[in-house]
Structure formats: C-alpha cells, structure tokens
C-alpha cells in the first residue's frame, strides 16, 4: 500500500463556501453567549452567513475545478446544489424563529447546528472522494440527530432522535463497509480513479466490488429514506420539530442524492448493468411503499414523510438514468421540491399553536372558508407535490421522466406515472378536508411574519418554476 501523502493541491478558494460557513457557524455558537434569550441576532447572523456562503461558492473560476488531489470538486452540480442548500437552510431558519419561540426551544446552538449541517451538505455535494463523502455524511447526520431531539422535554422528539441515531449509525456502518469493499477491490477512494479501474475488464466481475456497491446502495438508501430502508423516516419526521422536518426532507436529502448521483454516475457507471436492477427495485419499492403508506395516514407530517419516501423513488430514477440530463433534472427537482416543501410546512406551522400543533387532517376541515388564501396556497403546494401543472412539481417530474425516457427506462417511468396518480389521492385528501368539509372548530391562526415570508417565497417559487421554468432549466443544463 502506498503511503498517504498530504494533499498537494490545497485550494482554499475552492473550499471557500465550506470555510465561510464554518466560521459563521462557530461565530453563531459564540455569539449565543452574549445574545441571551433574544435569538433575533443569531437568526440574522446565520442568514448573512448563508448568503455569504452562496456568494463565495461562485468565487472559483473556471469550473469545473478539482482541488485537494481530486477529492473536492467545484462544478456545475455542486454550485447549484450549494444554492439549494443555502436556500433551504435559510428557509429553515426563517421557519424556526417563530416556531422556536412558540414551542419554547431556547437553544442557541440550534442555528449553529443548521449551519454546520449545511457545511456537511456542501461537502457531500462537492466531494469526489469516498472519504470526503463519508465525512460529509457524518457531519450532516450528527447535526440532524441533535436537531431531531432538540425538544428535550418532548417524548416524540426524543424518540425521533434516538431512533434516527440508532438506525442512522447502522446505515453509516453499511456505507463505510461498502466504501471499504470498493476501496479494497479498486485500490482507491477517489471516484475518478475507481472509474478508471472499473473500466478495465477484470473489475467488472469482481464480487467484492459488487458487494461493496450493494452496501453503498443500502447506506445511501438509508440516508435518502428510500424503501425498504425508510423505516425511520415517518417516526422521525413526525417527532422532530416541524422546521427540522422540513429541513430534513429537503436539504440533507438533496445532499445525499448529490453524493449518490456522483458515486453512481462518476465512479461506477461501467457497472450499471449490475446495479441498475437493484436501484430500480429500490426506486419502485420507494414509490409504492411511500404512496401506499401515505394513503393510510391521518397525521399530515407523517403523510408528508411517506410522500417524501415516494419522492426519493422518483429521484432515484434520475440516479439510475445517470446522464447529464438526469443530473440537471435532479437539480431542478430538488429546487422545486425545496420551494414546495417549505411552503407546505410553513402552512403546517402557521396552523399550529403552542402545545397544540393541529397536525391531524381533521384540523384542516373548512380552512378554505376561514382562510381562503392559506388553503389555496396549501392546495398549490400539494398539487405541485403531486406533479400537477402548471406548478413546479410538474415540470420537475417531466424533467426526470424525460431524462429517463431518453435513456430508455420506459417501464420505470410508466410505474412512476401510475404512482403519481396514486399520490393524487392523498394529496387531494387534504384538499377535500380544506374545501369540502365544514369547519370542526375555530381556527386560531396568528400570521407570524417570518413563517408567512417562507410561505410566500415557497408560493412564488412553486408557481414561477411551474410557469416560467426556462431560466432555471437553462441554469441546470450547463
């Protein structure tokens, strides 16, 4: 075995977003000592930090650039993903501010954890080395374990954190084991070197390598909550504080998908015939389990948890297609999913009160006639999640299905569209409650400005990406 050298190509500019955000994360942590009970300053500093991160991501020219002996990449995919991450983290922070005050979450670390988690996400999306990917996964996971359990006095929150931690640790084990096997059989952790090695004939039938890939699928499957590795998702989504749930559904998931996509499209595309079947099975299972599971739910957070499992299924189709168009479609899908999901969770938070989160579908009865605009927004978000034009979700699905059909995965797409039809059933169930049932009680809604802002941003994004998607599409396709 060769000795491991120190990286020769240290390139701090390429790493700028990670550095900037880390500094801000630690700064927020320290600032908390002075901030006292009022967290407004923390929120503000965090938002500035995210903005700076997004800007610094564009500091590196030209792209793609490979730094740290090809283990860190600045390319189109990572840049776009960094924008999605910073956006979703910023929306999470906006959602959290009033929610935390209402629910009495007075921990200053909260903001710092979200920022650190975002650091991990950026690493995940930019890494082209297994070790770096693992680091990213761990940073993200550990932050999420804490965030899920941040309501210390709440049983469900504790349960969520513990469950997430145990299963997550288990999944990390699988991931690491898979990486080890791949390393063992190819002699490198670098994705490009693995790809080079795999191209040689001898590697194609190496059972150790294939075993490693299977374990990687399991590990990533856990992280993106794809069936049959989804068991943790409903409980964790339900138990975690609502802004954290929204965050988990978008940011970390997008990051895991970025790494998932990179590994399978850059390191082992040559082995596609072997893993296509496996991933297709996982994709189909995720769609079916997610959609059928969601039909049964009466709790809206659980329902959205199952729906996010089914979305993982759709996204896996992009991973399977592995073309550059598929990569672009992944980007667009995650962006539109971010807008839509944050909007929907914003409404969910608005509908809650202290000690009374109103998460049952029945709590939405007759909302349309008390708060028509809220109900209309929720309808837009749900229809967009289901893939109904003219909203973002439709264009996103169209994009992914196009990429898949271009690569010849027709059966997979047909299964996916039939699943979309099923999904309308439960998305419409909420609409049924909002529009077609009489109000069960009074709504006691205080339209808190930050949360409202998130809903409005989500709404604008969902409609804009649905009706005028051209700008974003052309941004994704370079």
């Amino acid at each position: 075995m060769e000795p491991i050298h120190a990286p020769e190509s240290i390139d701090l500019i390429a790493l700028a977003p990670v550095l900037v955000l880390s500094v801000f994360a630690m700064g927020v942590l320290v600032l908390d000592l002075w901030a006292g009970k009022n967290k407004t300053l923390l929120m503000f500093v965090s938002l500035v930090g995210l903005l700076m991160t997004a800007i610094s991501a564009f500091a590196k020219h030209p792209i793609p650039t490979f730094a740290f002996t090809d283990s860190y990449t600045v390319d189109h995919l990572s840049l776009f993903f960094i924008c999605i991450f910073t956006l979703s983290s910023a929306l999470t922070i906006l959602l959290s501010y009033e929610y935390n005050e209402r629910e009495g979450i007075k921990v200053g670390e909260y903001y710092s954890l979200i920022l650190l988690c975002t650091v991990g996400m950026i690493l995940l999306a930019s890494s082209t080395d297994m070790i770096m990917i693992f680091l990213g996964v761990e940073i993200v996971s550990i932050c999420l374990y804490v965030l899920a359990g941040i309501r210390r006095d709440n049983k469900a929150s504790n349960e969520a954190a513990l469950k997430y931690f145990l299963l997550g640790a288990f999944a990390t084990g699988f991931l690491l084991y898979g990486m080890t096997l791949v390393y063992g059989s190819t002699g490198s952790t670098n994705l490009f070197k693995i790809a080079e090695f795999v191209k040689s004939d001898s590697a194609q039938s190496n059972p150790l390598l294939l075993m490693g890939i299977v374990l990687l699928v399991i590990g990533f499957g856990f992280k993106v909550a794809a069936a049959p590795f989804h068991m943790w998702a409903p409980d964790v989504y339900q138990g975690a504080p609502t802004p954290v749930t929204a965050f988990m559904a978008v940011g970390p998931k997008a990051a895991a998908f970025a790494a998932f996509f990179r590994v399978f499209s850059e390191a082992v595309p040559e082995l596609a015939p072997s893993w296509e079947i496996l991933l297709s099975t996982v994709a189909v299972l995720s769609m079916v389990v997610g959609n059928l599971g969601a039909i049964m739910q009466t709790n809206i957070k659980r329902m959205l948890a199952f729906s996010s499992i089914s979305h993982a299924g759709y996204l896996l189709i992009a991973v399977i297609s592995k073309s550059s168009l598929a990569g672009s479609s992944l980007l667009f899908y995650m962006l539109s999913y971010a807008f839509t999901t944050f909007g929907a969770f914003g409404i969910i938070i608005l509908l809650g009160r202290k000690g009374e989160e109103n998460l049952e579908l029945e709590n939405y009865s007759g909302l349309a006639y008390k708060h028509p605009l809220m109900a209309l927004s929720m309808t837009v978000f749900l229809l967009s999640l289901g893939g109904m034009p003219p909203f973002a979700g439709f264009v996103a699905k169209f994009y992914i299905f196009s990429a898949a059909i271009e690569e010849g995965f027709l059966t997979l797409v047909i299964i996916a569209v039939l699943n979309s039809a099923i999904s309308f059933y439960y998305y419409l169930k909420v609409v049924v409650f909002m529009y077609m049932k009489e109000p069960a009680g009074e709504f006691n809604i205080s339209l808190t400005p930050m949360t409202l802002l998130v809903v409005i941003i989500g709404l604008i994004g969902t409609i804009e990406l649905g009706i005028f998607p051209d700008t974003i599409i052309s941004l994704t396709t370079h």
Binding site: A368, Y369, P372, T379, L383, M388, P389, P390, F394, F398, F401, S402, I405, E406, L410, V413, I414, V417, L418, S420, A421, F424, Y425, L428, V431, V432, Y435, M436, P469, D470, I473, S474, T477
Partner: protein
Amino acid sequence: MFLTFITFLPIIGAFLLAFFPKENEGAIKQTALAVAAADFLLSLYLWTNFDSSTHKMQFGLNIPWIESWGINYHIGLDGITLLLYVMTTFLTMICIIASWDVKKHIREYMMAMLALSTGMLGVFISLDLFMFYVFWEFQLVPMYIIVGVWGGPRRIYAAVKFFIYTAVGSLLMLVAIIWIYFHIKETTGVATADILFITDHLSSSVPLGTQKWLWAAFFLAFAIKVPMFPFHTWLPDAHVEAPTAGSVILAGVLLKMGTYGFLRFNLPFFPQASYEFVDIIAVLSIIGIVYGALVAMVQEDLKKLVAYSSVSHLGFVMLGIFALNEYGIQGALIQNINHGISTGALFLLVGVIYDRRHTRMIKEFGGLSKQMPVYAICFMIAALSSIGLPGMNGFIGEFLELLGTFQGIGFLYAACATSGVILAACYILWMFQRVMFLELSNPKNMNLKDINTRELITIVPLLILIFWIGLYPKPFMKTFDASVTHLVSKVSPDNFRPKQDHNEGGHHAALITKTELAKLSQKLQKTSHN
C-alpha cells in the same frame, strides 16, 4: 394576442373576484357574468373573422416558452376547434346565469367556474404538446373543486374518482408525449413538441408496432374523457353529484375534449394505427351506444338517465370519427356541438325541478305538464333533440355519423348503431311520459311554479340553437369543411388499404365532395345499393 386575451380573460376575472368582499354576492355574480359574457362576445368575433376556406391555423401566436426544451407557447384555431371554443365560452356564460341561486361560497364558485373556462379554452387552442398537457391537467382542478364542494351527497367520492380516473389516463399519455418528443428530436434533429410539426413528421418515421403503443397511450387518456365503454364508470357518479352547471360543463365541454383529442392527436399522428384499430373502436362504441341506452332506460334518477344517455351519444361521435371519412367526421364534429346543447339543456331542465323539489327521482313526478306547461315544452324540445328528431340538431349529427359508418366501417356496424337511435327514443319518451304526463298524483307537485325568467334565459338560447342547427346547419358546418377534408386526406383508409380494394375505395372517395344536405339522402341510397 387576441386569442390569448380571450383565453385568459376568465382566469383574470377569477383573480379579480378574489378581492371582492365575500358578502357582496350581487357584485360577485354580476362581475362573473360580465366577464363570461364579454368572453363569449369576443369569441363570436373570432367566429365572424374566421376564414373557413382553409384548414390552416388562424389567430395563431407562436412565441418561445421554455426555450431550453424547444417548447413554445403556440396557439391557434382551426375548423375543428373553432366551434368547440365558441361553445365553451357560450356554455360558461349560460352556466354562470344558471348558478345564480348557488347559496354556498358563491365567490369561490364563480372563481372556480371562470378558472375552469380558461383551462378548457386552453386545451382547444394549444398547438404544443407540453402546453396542451398543462391545460389538459389544469382544468381538472377547478372541475374537481366544483363537483367536490357544490355537489350532492356523495360528491367527495365522485370528485376524487373523476380526478384519479382522468389523471391515470393522462399520465400515460404524458409518457407517450415525452417519447414522441425524443423521437422527433432524434429523427429530425429538432427539439420540439409542436403539434403541427409532429403531425408532419411523426407517422412516417415510427414503425407500426410502436405506433400502436403510442396510439394506445393517447387512446386511454381520451377514451376515459369521452368516456368510452368500458372507461365510463366515473361519468354517472360525477354527473349525478355535480351541481347543475357542473353537469352542463362536464357534458358540454369536458367530454368533447376526449373526442377532440382523437381528432387532433390519434388520427393525424398515427393514421395507420388508427386504421388498424377501427374495428375495436367500432365495437366498443356500439357497446357504448347500446349499453348506455339500455342502462339509461332503467334509471330512476333523471340526471343519471341523462348521464347514461351521454355515454350512448358519445358512442355515436366516436363511431363517426373512426369512420375515417368526411361524413363521419363532420357528423362527429357537429354532434359534439349538438350533444353539448341538447344534453346541456336537459341538465339545466333537470336542475330546474331539482331546485324546486330537491329530488330527481322519476317516480316522484308525473303530470308536471299541467303544472308547468312552459317547462314541459322546453323539456320536450330538448328531449326530442336528444333523440335526433328531424328538423332538430341531433338529427343532422347522427345522420351524418351513421352515413359515415355505413361507408367507412360497414353495414352491420351502422345497423347496430342505429338501434341506439331507437333505444334513445324509448328511454327519453318513456321518461318524458312518466315525468310530464300521467296523473298529477304526488301532492308535493301540486304547487310547483313554472320555469322563471332567469331559467328561461338559460334555456331559450339553447332551444334556438337546437332548431337553428336542425334547420340551417350551414353556418356551423362550413366552419370545419376545409379542416375535415384536410384531415380525411391524411387519415383516409385508402392510404393503407391493400391495392385491390383501392379502386372501389377511390370510387367512394369521388362521391365525397361537399356536404350538401340535399344530396345526402340520394347518396345514402347509392351506398346501400353497393
């Protein structure tokens, strides 16, 4: 731009209504009506400026929409869509008047109605597959809301069934659309979803086996919408539960989107596959015609009866389309309009007594003609038009369709289909007898008020149209002459028949020239001799 304006005017109106105070019901209703009426008048302007001598798209606009995918905002009207377009604006206006007495959430109701109108208009003008799909799916939502909120007791079930059923069909069509998009991109090098471009380039480059699959994907979407037997099960539920205006729109326009789809996509995209499937379609249509009529006959609910009669009538339309000749397709097009008018009128009239009695059960009524003479006359005209009595609109359409079927599909099919006309007379007249004549025995019917002015305003225009089309259909028929001739020249079975049949086919083709009603009966005789 003008066409765009007319299409989006209703949804702009809906948007404005959102800012009206909820309590101000009068202003809400008047504004909605003003928007719908303006839209109708503007669409009449389209009709008067329409050049019926060409099959080319008119009032067109083609600007880039999603440039990276080559998707355009491409709209236009031709002979096939003009009347459907005008009928949509017309029925929207009628429906808004008919909904004057809606009590619950009137503002939301009017908003949904206007949004629905834009969705439907968009379907008819779209000349880009992507755009078409967007409108095709989008109009589901307001219709779903209308059925689900203002419908009858089982409205939620009916609304969800309607939505899911249609969505399943449409989504498979989406897969076919994407496939076509990439196929066109590969074979011609142009990334486009333009319907006209695809019509010109698709059929020559796709092998028949694949054509059949694509055809089937489009077929499912449209067959569910039409609805053809056996995909019709959502229709009775949706019709029965929908509010009156919802039923009118559903029967008048939404079902026509299915038949329009066949004419715009299935036939021109896949002429050969269409030809191969003629027998299957013919059998399904005839089952639909007979089955719909028989089921209608035993219905106890007036609205369900009319709903099943729709299944039967639309069977005729499908038969006409797949006759693949001028008579058949012209018949189908005019019958599209006729069905919208007659069935629309029937639904409105059923709505009139439902508003008074809150029941639609036939056995609850009897002898209404004594109590409501004007109503009975209106009902009779609509009912007879639905049967297809000569001198009324239904006759023209069904006659042409049957003529086309005789020539295009075969004697046996036409004969079976004709039984549907007889059955229609049975169920309609029997229903009419039980509702309007007999003894006025039910005491609840003793004090029924006759049809009022507002209701008359909604019905009379339809009745006028019934006679107008029945007696002087030329202004209507001539709008789509050129388009139909052009369509038939592309899809005529003669293009695919083996050579030996060709002479005979050519002979028929020579017979088919202009549709002059005076000549029709003469030609019918000739055909039956052959």
